[in-house]
Amino acid sequence: MSTFLGWSIKRPSNLTKLILFACVSIGLIVLDARHRHDTQTFRNLMEYATHPVQLLAALPFSVANDIRRDFRTNSELRQANSQLEQRDLELEAKLSRFDVLQAEVARLNKLLGGQPIPGYRETLAQILAVSSGPFTQRLVLDEGSQQHLYVGQAVLGTHGIVGQIVSVGPHTSQVMLVTDPNSGVPIVSERNGLRAIAFGTGLANRLRIPYLTVTADIRIGDIFVSSGLGGVYPAGYPVARVTEVKGNPNLAFLKVRAAPLGQLNYHTHVLLLWPKQVAHREGLHG
């Protein structure tokens, strides 16, 4: 029991504290769910405090990688070097052909009067942390607004689309994977041009493609690539392969399951893309 300005003050009971803090928490939850932008500043501030913890949690893995790199033997390095040289030659040969093809496509596009193939500036970012569960499928990257990342930016892996950026802190950013239950990717079938949307399920190896009518031409093994509709993901990157098609004549839509092709569990680095207009606006040239 103490006094403050003449009032006697009792230490608040646990129940009082519980009610108080629970109300504040529920307020925060509602605020965060409805007006994400207002809480972003607070998140950014807090990230300064949590960034070292995330780095520390990623440390054992980066140290293990470093050790593995340092302890490679000479012969291993020679072997790897010769392999890489050979691969370099192969890629060089392919690339020279690619340049020719790209020029040809640009020329054909100009002839047809269509848009030129959109140019992208890209950079690599390291994955700091992975959070996955039935409700969120997220990655944390080691780059943030300091590196001109922005919300809604497409994130790619070597095998296809990984996801998009949903929140950006000063030095870190969060990626919503295509398997996140809140994610939807506009896709188009490689085989016949069927348009659809791939939604996440919360499971790391499954997507669902709803709203396809029973008569839609879709088979197990069909590859779907991004269609570029919606403007978030660039067109033509692999997204999913159909693994299961169940049709019930009594229902309007097919039940279609697919496996993501982005190899979401296999990367340590991902590719970030800036459409040229954005890169230009941000003063980045690459």
Binding site: S25, L28, L56
Partner: protein, 163 residues
Amino acid sequence: MDSPFTPTQRALVGLTFAISILLAILPLPGYTKLLRPDWVALVLVYWCMAIPDRVGIGSAWVLGLFLDILYGSLLGEQALAKVLLAFLALHFTMRLRMFPRWQQAIAAGVLIAISDLVVLLVKSLAHGTPPTWSDTAPMIANVIVWPFLFIILREVRRRAKIS
């Protein structure tokens, strides 16, 4: 309340929480993360039980907010759960201390499971995805880990003379 809570002791308790947070966000491969106990909750229950005058609902709320930032969940989601957990642990402090070890483990596990239900409720309300059976795996892991964690933290507490 007689002996003072020195800055060193406070830092030590803070350190145990920091380590628990590190363990909680350490990336684990595949299905092994299903068996990851809720380290932060376990440590919180221990300190609420051992030094209820020092660690309580306020600390739990701050801790929860940190977790929300790290997990990328809705702000306040973990905070709400941890506040409820701290309240329950404080309420059952005396009973928890009296229980034999295995019974204590089950009791702590049940308290954490109750607070997990809050998280599941908030998540299914906010995202519209129902909870799954795999959510129960960490609850079982909690009970298994408790006796070992208890011994470690009791040793820390006795060496540092925290009371």
